[in-house]
């Protein structure tokens, strides 16, 4: 099925509850080819042009269509709006995948290494979920943590992102120099109106993590009215703080975390070092 409008799509899903919505199919076909998924029927979202762009709303919000591709978000006009999301989209796989892989698919898949997810968490974005005759608005974090998951027959339609007009950074560590999934990623945005720094760490846990205490602490170290400068030592301390908050001592250890008794595991030490460097650099670049 290839509905041409959103209404048609939600009606098709209501009529065929077992149907699977398909956007870019990059995650879906990976699962199908590997024998992990056998769709009963497919509802292609690729023809719904209204979901492939974005619009603005009062109060400085951008409303992004779920069908925006990574390749589209990488373009300069979008990068000027939400730089961190553009940075994330630029690294989300090879061109063949970014040409079709979508924002909505990235959120719905909710992979630990999903690159847009820490950015959306740091931006405190929310999503609109639509089903026949009804829509609801859910914070991205509630969706990702399973607090308020996508229900059968529901489509992710819009992603509401505040326009902050301030530096934003997304940095990602990978296992090789070519396109690859993140071993750790950090999204950091400045919110000068609220004098806040918001940071999220991706790929180290099943959902992106927010180091709230570290954010609050570092926001107090920044001279918001002046040149927004910060002591380099504070930047480095922020990195350590974020890493310690997001990577538990027992990370990667055998069995449950409780089994670890003597300090952090070797994997935790390595990952903390990576996260600390990413967070330190992200803050440094945002305040540059």
């Amino acid at each position: 099925m290839l509905p041409a409008s959103l209404d048609e799509a939600v009606e098709a899903l209501a009529a065929h509850p077992a149907a699977v919505p398909v956007a870019g199919a990059t995650d879906l076909m990976e699962a199908v080819n590997a024998g992990r998924l056998r769709p009963a029927s497919l509802v292609g979202l690729g023809r719904i042009t209204e979901l492939r762009g974005w619009r603005y709303e009062d109060g400085g919000t951008a409303v992004l269509g779920a069908g925006l591709t990574h390749a589209r978000m990488d373009r300069p006009d979008f990068a000027a709006l939400i730089p961190a999301l553009a940075d994330a989209a630029r690294t989300a796989g090879p061109p063949q995948v970014r040409n079709v892989g979508t924002l909505g698919g990235n959120i719905a898949t909710a992979a630990p290494a999903g690159d847009t997810l820490p950015v959306l968490a740091a931006l405190e974005a929310s999503v609109t979920l639509a089903r026949a005759g009804a829509t609801r608005e859910v914070p991205v974090s509630h969706l990702l943590t399973g607090l308020d998951p996508l229900r059968p027959g529901e489509l992710l339609t819009w992603v509401r992102v505040p326009l902050l007009h301030a530096p934003q950074v997304f940095l990602k560590a990978t296992g090789r120099s070519g396109p690859a999934r993140a071993t750790a990623s950090v999204a950091l945005v400045l919110d000068p109106a609220r004098r806040a720094v918001r940071c999220a760490v991706g790929a180290v846990a099943p959902v992106p993590l927010r180091p709230l205490e570290a954010e609050a602490w570092v926001a107090g170290c920044i001279d918001w009215d002046g040149s927004r400068e910060i002591d380099p030592a504070a930047t480095a301390a922020f990195g350590e703080y974020v890493a310690a908050a997001c990577v538990p001592d027992g990370y990667g250890a055998e069995g449950a975390w409780e089994a670890v008794t003597e300090g952090p595991s070797a994997a935790a030490v390595r990952l903390r070092r990576t996260v600390a460097v990413l967070a330190r650099r992200a803050l440094g670049r945002a305040l540059k």
């Binding site: 290839l2 077992a18 699977v20 919505p21 199919a25 990059t26 879906l28 990976e30 080819n33 590997a34 024998g35 998924l37 056998r38 769709p39 009963a40 029927s41 497919l42 292609g44 390749a71 990488d74 373009r75 940075d87 630029r90 690294t91 796989g93 090879p94 061109p95 063949q96 995948v97 040409n99 079709v100 719905a108 909710a110 968490a121 974090s141 969706l143 990702l144 943590t145 399973g146 607090l147 998951p149 996508l150 059968p152 990602k172 070519g178 396109p179 999220a200 760490v201 846990a205 099943p206 959902v207 993590l209 180091p211 709230l212 205490e213 570290a214 908050a245 997001c246 001592d249 952090p264």
Partner: protein, 419 residues
């Protein structure tokens, strides 16, 4: 293999009996559909295909277009690269049923003229081919890059080809081929422009012609090419920021039209004679960058192919005589590689091609016959799909609540390792 297939060994009664159940089985558990794909400009019907079949599978196994290769089926290797609606995609990740009404271009379309395209030729000559498995995908990626960006820098070329893995050659040849083709096309375009200029300015003073040509110069690149403001993967290579200006001021020429440089709006050759009047000098030199020596590039032989040329009415030459594969024989009774004629293209309608060569007769492929209802398309074990695509392994799709870590990464006191 095909003659003693178990289905054929069954007696008729058993088959009838099986038929009582087979439709239900296939409908519920292995839903199929029929559709038409438009491949390289030709309509190719596909009947009763499982909805989960990838475009790569349908092209190779149902339509006999084996150019795109199956390297991984996971989107990682790029060997299956094809264009769908002008965009480079991994064929293995496109559900074929959803590609109906789309314009699909495969590597067979590149060589539609009968010989290798300029891209394929350059790849072969620059040493980008060893085992050759990656080359069809690479050729599509290079072709796609040069459609969008007539003058890619090395960084842009590397970014464009980063989804194509080659386990043999190390990519230098492929990168050299990009520059070879870009230079050669620019030389051709420069010559065409010069010729047009000359024709237009014929009565005028010849000395004025180059000056008149200058304002028409659209800059080094065309409109819609991707601009990478920051190179996140290859950080040590400087970005050519000066060229970005040319992209926003683009002329709109050439994008998505294939060899747009030939319409006279394209990129003038940096290497051709400075007065713009010279014939293509054929040097095509890729000078000064990384020490590539792409050698002489004979533009008369390698003029880009613009169109799919007409096929013979009897269909006998419908097979692409891909250069370097002279031994290739048509499958008996198969559909020509480039498909059946579109109605109204002026070519006689063949009408009589059997659909899906090799499937009904099982003549073309030695592999397992696809028809068997109980065998999933890719030989994977069948697992019934729960509604709405929840992965069959039982993990919830939209993120499992992470035992110890609540929303927003706030830690419970007992897990607090921060202090």
């Amino acid at each position: 293999m095909t003659t003693d297939h178990p289905i054929e060994a069954l007696d008729a009664g058993l088959l009838d009996h099986a038929h009582d159940h087979a439709p239900q089985v296939s409908r519920e558990l292995r839903p199929t559909t029929s559709y038409t794909l438009r491949v390289n400009g030709f309509e190719r019907p596909v009947t009763d295909a499982w909805i989960g079949e990838s475009l790569l599978y349908v092209l190779r196994e149902r339509l006999g277009l084996a150019g795109a290769k199956d390297g991984c089926e996971q989107g990682e290797c790029g060997a299956c690269s094809v264009q769908v609606d002008g965009q480079l995609v991994a064929g293995c990740l496109v559900p074929a049923a959803l590609a109906q009404d789309s314009e699909i271009n495969t590597v067979e379309g590149l060589s539609a003229g009968g010989g290798a395209s300029d891209v394929q030729q350059a790849l072969a000559e620059s040493g980008a081919v060893q085992c050759g498995y990656c080359v069809p995908g690479l050729a599509m990626a290079v072709h796609d890059l040069l459609q969008r960006n007539h003058r890619p820098t090395e960084v842009e070329a590397r970014q464009a080809l980063c989804g194509n893995l080659c386990r043999c050659t190390g990519y230098r040849g492929a990168l050299a081929a990009v520059q070879t083709v870009a230079d050669a096309r620019a030389a051709v375009a420069g010559a065409a422009e010069a010729a047009a200029e000359e024709a237009a300015a014929a009565p005028a003073d010849r000395a004025a012609a180059p000056a008149a040509a200058a304002p028409a110069d659209p800059g080094p690149q065309t409109a819609d090419l991707p601009v990478y403001t920051e190179d996140t993967w290859i950080e040590h290579v400087p970005q050519p920021r000066t060229e970005e200006a040319g992209t926003t001021a683009g002329t709109g020429a050439g994008v998505g039209t294939g060899y747009g440089t030939q319409d006279g709006h394209g990129t003038p050759d940096r290497h051709s004679a400075p007065d713009g009047h010279g014939a293509p000098d054929g040097r095509g030199g890729y000078d000064g960058q990384g020490g590539y020596d792409s050698g002489v590039y004979d533009t008369t032989v390698l003029a880009p192919v613009r169109d799919v040329p007409p096929q013979q009415a009897d269909g006998s030459t419908g097979f692409y005589p891909a250069q370097g594969y002279p031994e290739q024989q048509p499958y008996p009774g198969a559909t020509p590689a480039h498909g059946t004629y579109l109605p109204g293209t002026g070519y006689p309608d063949q009408g009589g091609y059997p659909q899906q060569p090799g499937y009904d007769t099982a003549s073309a492929y030695d592999g397992p016959v696809y028809e068997t209802p109980a065998t999933p398309a890719h030989g994977t074990p069948y697992v019934p799909a729960p509604p709405h695509g929840v992965p069959a392994e039982g993990t919830a799709q939209a993120g499992v609540p992470y035992g110890a870590t609540p929303a927003h990464g706030i830690r419970l006191p007992e897990d607090d390792h921060a202090s």
